[in-house]
C-alpha cells in the first residue's frame, strides 16, 4: 500500500470532521435526532404531518453550504469522474441500499459509531468493505 502524500490532507480532514461532528452534536442536542442524511431524505418520501419542515430545513442547509463557504474562501470544485450510466446506477444503489441498511456514512458511520452501536459498526464495516471491493474491481481488475 503506498500513501498518496500529495493528496493526504490531515489537518483539513480533522477540522472538517470536527465540523461534521459539531453538526451531529447540534442536531442531537437541539433536535434530538440522528444526523443520518439518508434517513432525513428518505422520510420526505413518506411525509407525515409535522415531520417535513425540519427535514427540508436540514437538506436546505446542506445544499446552501457551498454558498456560505464561498463567503469565506473559494469552494473547491468537485471532481466527478463517473460517467452518466455509472452515476445513475450508483444513485439507485445508494438510494435502495441506504434505506434497507437504515443508514449511511453519516447515520451509521458518524452518529452510530459515536453512540458505540454494534449495529452501526457492522453496517459501517460492511459498506466500507463493499466500497473498497468495488473500487478495486473497477480500477484494478476491469481497468476503468
Amino acid at each position: 500500500m503506498n500513501i498518496d502524500w500529495n493528496a493526504f490532507t490531515p489537518l483539513a480532514s480533522l477540522a472538517g470532521g470536527a465540523l461534521i461532528g459539531l453538526a451531529a452534536a447540534l442536531f442531537v442536542l437541539f433536535n434530538g435526532r440522528i444526523a443520518g442524511i439518508s434517513g432525513v431524505l428518505g422520510g420526505l418520501l413518506r411525509p407525515a404531518r409535522g415531520d417535513v419542515g425540519w427535514r427540508v430545513a436540514f437538506v436546505l442547509g446542506l445544499v446552501g453550504a457551498p454558498a456560505v463557504y464561498a463567503l469565506f474562501t473559494a469552494v473547491p470544485a468537485p471532481r466527478i469522474v463517473a460517467g452518466w450510466v455509472a452515476l445513475i446506477v450508483a444513485g439507485l444503489l445508494v438510494g435502495v441500499g441506504t434505506r434497507y441498511g437504515a443508514g449511511c456514512t453519516s447515520g451509521h458511520g458518524v452518529c452510530g459509531l459515536s453512540r458505540l452501536s454494534p449495529r452501526s459498526l457492522v453496517a459501517t464495516l460492511t459498506f466500507m468493505g463493499a466500497g473498497f471491493v468495488t473500487v478495486f474491481v473497477l480500477r484494478h481488475l476491469v481497468g476503468i
Binding site: 451531529a24 433536535n31 442524511i37 431524505l41 453550504a65 463557504y69 466527478i80 463517473a82 459515536s114 480500477r139
Partner: protein, 139 residues
Amino acid sequence: MPILTSLLAGLVFGLGLILSGMADPAKVLGFLDLAGPWDPSLALVMAGAIAVGLVAFALASRRETTLLGLSLKLPAARHIDRRLVGGSLLFGAGWGLAGFCPGPALVALGMGEIKAMAFVAAMLAGMGLFELLERRGKA
C-alpha cells in the same frame, strides 16, 4: 426554533464536508482505492467527527429532553439482520461506483453540478423504489 437548528445543523455539516474534501468524489475514491495511491484522509475525517460525536451523544444520553425541550428520537434498533448487511453492501457498491453518498451529493447539488443532480435524482428514485417494495410487502 427546531427548524432553525435543523437548518444550522445541515449547514455546518455541509461546511464540514466541503472543508474536509468529502464533497469531492475523487478524494473519497482515493480513500476507497486501497491498491492504488492511497489517501487516508477519510479515516481522519471520521476520527474528527466521532471524537466530537462521542461527547455529544454521551451528553444526550443523559438527558430526558433536548436543549429545546423536545423529546429525543434516537433509533433503538439493535438487531443485525440481512436487511442491514444487504442494504449496506448495496450502498457501499454504489458509493464505490461514483464516490458519492447522500450528504456530499446534496452539497455538490448546491454547487450546481449537473452530474450531482443526476445522482440525486437516481438516489431519490432508489429510495422511492424501496418505499414501493415496502408497501407492497405489507399489502
